[in-house]
Symmetry: C2
Subunit: 429 residues, 2 copies
């Protein structure tokens, strides 16, 4: 058997400790599958003395995390997080030193993945990030290799477990966003500052990575149209249910004639669609290939075990000598994505207005719809809104999104409007 693959780990939070636990627990199995032992040799973290449930005395302790780049190791595993700072410096220094680099850092890959991949190519080392998207689900490998024979037409999914937990709990218990978020924070499912999750930024990081892999285009995180779930009301979920849909935060990317279109938005998902059955903190990804058809992957999207599973899968690949390009092809071969016009995307929509309870409101709204050439499929006027007024819900027939936004613009500032309207696409995939 070949010499052990020597690993140094930066960051010993839940995931870092999980990687050590996994390597301890499955040591023999990993050696059989990797063809050699995978051995942690050095670690670095902020606090040396915190009890993490693992014995660190076996490993070299490195005080200054970026100095891990210089230890005698084959691979540096980065589990610190943050798109800049220590994580990025460590990545650059480690690869410059000829070491492979494995990370779970979706923000850093979304912002600097291409530059890092170029460094990896120049130095002939591996850059891997299976854990950065959808936790334990091997979706990076599934797209990069499993579906590699296909032109991928669309890729979409539920990419943030915190949002899915909040939405499915709101659905099951009929409670408000704020109420469920507070519980989720108390239980540790959501951060004290939840904005990265609930505003859709985390899902947008992941989507931009999936889009690059799927379409062979350069990562374009800045172009992801992102809306979070703060504006979703329990009433929206109830109305969607009555119409045969569930509300999910869906990241989706399509590479059409006009270029790449990437969005993260709460959407209405038909109950017959596999994404409608993704509950709690699970993640799921759908890829549609021109030969394979629809592939669906589901699993746990975060947490110690699933994330460690993805990190160690990357390590086993590296141990086996699998050093392919980070984005399936050299960075120079990635195409420049054009920017498609989101307004041109055709689909049906869910619209919810919170309006004053007085005569004539419905006539004004339907007139605005007619003027913008939006055809209404169903209309429900029901129930009191949380901020006073009445909830008025409608679904449209399929039309270009710009027609719906034009109607909303025409209604903007109308005296009867109690709160901002809510627009959600109806997933037709």
């Amino acid at each position: 058997m070949a010499a052990p693959l020597k690993i140094a780990i930066a960051g010993l939070g839940t995931v870092g400790a999980g990687v050590i636990k996994l390597i301890d627990a499955n040591r023999d199995l990993i050696a059989r599958r990797a063809g050699r032992a995978v051995q942690v040799v050095a670690v670095s973290a902020r606090d040396r003395n915190r009890d993490r449930g693992v014995d660190l005395s076996r490993f070299q302790w490195v005080e200054n995390t970026v100095d891990l780049a210089d230890v005698d190791a084959d691979v540096i595993v980065e589990l610190i997080g943050g798109s800049e700072g220590t994580a990025l410096t460590l990545a650059e220094r480690a690869m410059a030193n000829g070491k492979a680099f494995v990370t779970a850092n979706k923000a850093m890959i979304a912002h600097h993945g291409l530059a890092l991949a170029q460094t990896a190519e120049a130095k002939g080392v591996a850059l891997k990030y299976e854990a950065a998207v959808a936790g334990g689900i091997p979706v990076i490998k599934g797209l990069r290799e499993g579906a590699a024979a296909n032109a991928i037409e669309r890729v979409y999914g539920i990419l943030n477990g915190t949002c899915n937990y909040i939405l499915t709990t709101m659905e099951a218990e009929g409670r408000s966003f704020d109420d469920v978020l507070a519980d989720a924070q108390a239980l540790g499912y959501a951060e004290a500052d939840p904005s990265f999750d609930v505003d859709g930024i985390d899902a947008a990081h992941k989507l931009s990575i999936l889009a690059s892999l799927s379409f062979g285009t350069r990562i374009d995180f800045g172009a992801v149209v992102t809306t979070g779930i703060r504006q979703v009301l329990a009433g929206d979920i109830a109305q969607a249910k009555a119409l045969g849909y569930r509300v999910r935060l869906v990241g989706r990317a399509e590479n059409g004639e006009g270029g790449l279109l990437q969005s993260v938005q709460p959407c209405l998902v038909p109950v017959t669609h596999p994404l409608a059955h993704v509950a709690g903190a699970m993640n799921a990804v759908v890829a549609e290939g021109n030969f394979v058809g629809r592939l669906f992957f589901e699993g746990r999207g975060a947490g110690e075990g699933p994330t460690a599973s993805a990190v160690v899968a990357d390590l086993i690949d590296i141990a086996r000598g699998e050093l392919g390009p980070a984005f399936a092809m050299p960075v120079s071969a990635l195409a420049d994505p054009g920017h498609a016009d989101a307004g041109a995307r055709v689909g049906a929509f869910y619209l919810r207005f919170t309006v004053a309870d007085r005569p004539g409101v419905l006539a004004e709204i339907t007139a605005a719809m007619r003027d913008a050439n939006v055809s209404i499929e169903s209309l429900i006027q029901r129930g009191e809104a949380p901020d006073g007024g009445v909830l008025l819900v409608m679904t449209t027939h399929a039309c270009p999104e710009r027609q719906v936004t034009a109607a909303l613009k025409a209604l903007d500032g109308a005296a009867f409007m109690v709160g901002a309207p809510m627009l959600m696409p109806i997933l037709d995939m």
Copy 2:
């Protein structure tokens, strides 16, 4: 860019022609992902003149299929089928000649996969078979690499699209097995001789391959306990539905203390389980790892496009130099699976009796259950059976399977029994 990867294809049925169509359609994309062109150079099939919708004049035609092993190609792709004969001879000769070998042949891998893998190791060539299990779903790669960090505790799924099509059509339309099978044959979804599919043999081939990859054990196809779906009545599906279950042909493998247990059987799947939502000819695989938890993969399990997608994914891997061992580790590292006693497997069961409609029958059956220590959870006596008599359905509490089979044995030959009883496990996974 490196020299093209030269391919020779044996067998030009639906899948063989599909591989050529895919390589034609996605040529540039494949070259970008593979780092080199993938180029068909030679083909062989029974009938040179049949119209397959692809231009064969570009390729060397080889009259005697096994002679493909000697053409100037890097990889031989075998799409003939059959566990012995031409396919096997070609595999051995191709690898003996130092060529990589890619196949969609589940029967050959189930029967001869280990011997072929040893030849591949000895010759230092790749042996790949992604298309052999679950069509376009990259589940071989998912288990061999994606979940490689985990000890897999159970692997199970819906592995035969024909059976799933028949069962879900019976469910949707309330029709009998024979009736739906005849339709499926007319539509080309089932073979004229459907026994490989409906008797569970095809699913058993695939399960034995998944078990080896999941547990790091030698393939043991002969030990798969296999029951097909011929005995499933429309009434079973209706009763199962009333109880909150759907009937699916489930292949499942567990590697417990007593050894490996592999079975292919119609099972009751709770409607809340992802497998209950797998409809029509789709396939799905669930793997449970000790760190990642439950992974779920779904997609099209057969047909031209999905199977070609899996074959070409293997070709791209080979083009990229990914030549790892066929069963994730060298054959010598695979453990010998013990045989667990299926009778010891604990679970709840569905039982259906077709009995004469006279007093005392229920007392005799429930007495036999009591004597075998089987506790009944629910009992429904309802409706006429197709062969006369009455359908009597019960579900048990969890108990070792041998207690239920003992009760059935005690009832064997009872005068009131109109037909053979039907026993289906209730999936508790």
